[in-house]
Symmetry: D2
Subunit: 135 residues, 4 copies
């Protein structure tokens, strides 16, 4: 995966959620989402689905960009295991995705979600399937 | 949890995603989301984050409604494990959440996500923490 | 997978744990383990590792037997997610593995672990990788 | 958790598997298991249940020792999510458990399993429930 400039996702669900990638290298991606009312659950906490979505979209995109460039393969989420440790109610959701495994048919990433104070608020383990491009 | 009439979530992330509950009993909840462009990932499939969010919001709400009525407790997502089996690209996403465990401090739900043809497309296992209301 | 007669695993870790398959059809496998002191953790409960192992071995074997017979493929565990709901301290551990997905490259099983009274004590979701036999 | 000298588990399932703790500090535990025939699955790989068991027993014991000393609480496994990345067939299974979260009612650990060459072979995420000692 090439170094890419900071950028927001420009389409689909990642845009609706408001995910911005702020730094990306071969095996780490930093992203963030600004908290706003429509990302909360009824008690005023950032919805757990937002964390799961950040993990899903960042890791899928990073895997896709890499395997597509290298060997014309595609990538799609296979399993998303997100655990919630501490609520976020305002400010910015910060995500750090770290690639842990790069196999022929699956990649695995660990994602850490933190609040503005740097507290670990959620963790996610993403398994991404890598498959040949269909003709 | 009392029988409730079909209804859409009216606030927050569940509203942004467009989750509607169509039937709910004590230990099962049916919900659905109409597929629209802003719920897709770049390849045109419903984003995995949408499935994770449906599971999160339906199970959290159902647990909260029940434990809040019965013993003034609150509920919040603790772990969301979603596996993706088959893509959905259009139509309606159908979810069936089934309560599997009702403990004093945690509830567990299994969620099945299907497409309009009834194919199983994703499964989710939600663990919800139940805690006393803070004073 | 053909119907097979009740049988104990005869080698390796499944034998050490003492797993017996009591009934198996195409998409369900029943198995059991008799509780004995060396399967407990220090507080006298069946060790969580025992439940994870039953799920692992039963689902891997069932998938292997099927894909090997049908298309000379092999199968191996890819992910094992086991949640613990209620302790077992004596008697027999009963497992029911239900196939939920049969894909080209992955199979998924849900496993329910119960005690002698029929209480649900643990659940496991197994993802099994299916791969071509190496030459 | 006090620093403890290297030691093998002396009872129950952890002893049957042959888990030895080689180093332990407040938030990290190193452990190992010597590979032997009765830990393998039929294809000659270390059984996935062995990795799950190492994670389960090391993290449960470390949490128990800490919460029991500090506040007379008990600890037990709540969820064990183990992913398999690369087989081990011989030598020693090395485990490193790192505490990631220390809440009032749950602790979370990440476990990395490696082979003698230092390759990452499995990862496990353990959630441990912390509960008051019953009278």
């Amino acid at each position: 995966m090439p170094e890419i400039p900071p950028q927001a996702f420009t389409q689909g669900f990642a845009k609706l959620v408001g995910i911005e990638v702020t730094r990306a290298t071969e095996d780490e991606v930093h992203a963030r989402v600004a908290v706003r009312p429509e990302l909360l659950q009824p008690a005023g906490l950032v919805d757990g689905g937002v964390y799961a979505t950040i993990a899903e979209d960042v890791c899928s995109a990073a895997t896709f960009l890499s395997v597509n460039a290298e060997r014309d393969a595609v990538a799609m989420g296979m399993s998303n295991q997100t655990s919630f440790l501490r609520p976020i109610t305002q400010g910015t959701v910060h995500a750090l995705a770290m690639r842990r495994h790069r196999g022929r048919t699956t990649w695995m990433w660990d994602v850490e979600i933190s609040d503005d104070a740097g507290h670990l608020c959620a963790v996610s383990r993403m398994t991404i399937a890598v498959r040949p491009q269909r003709a």
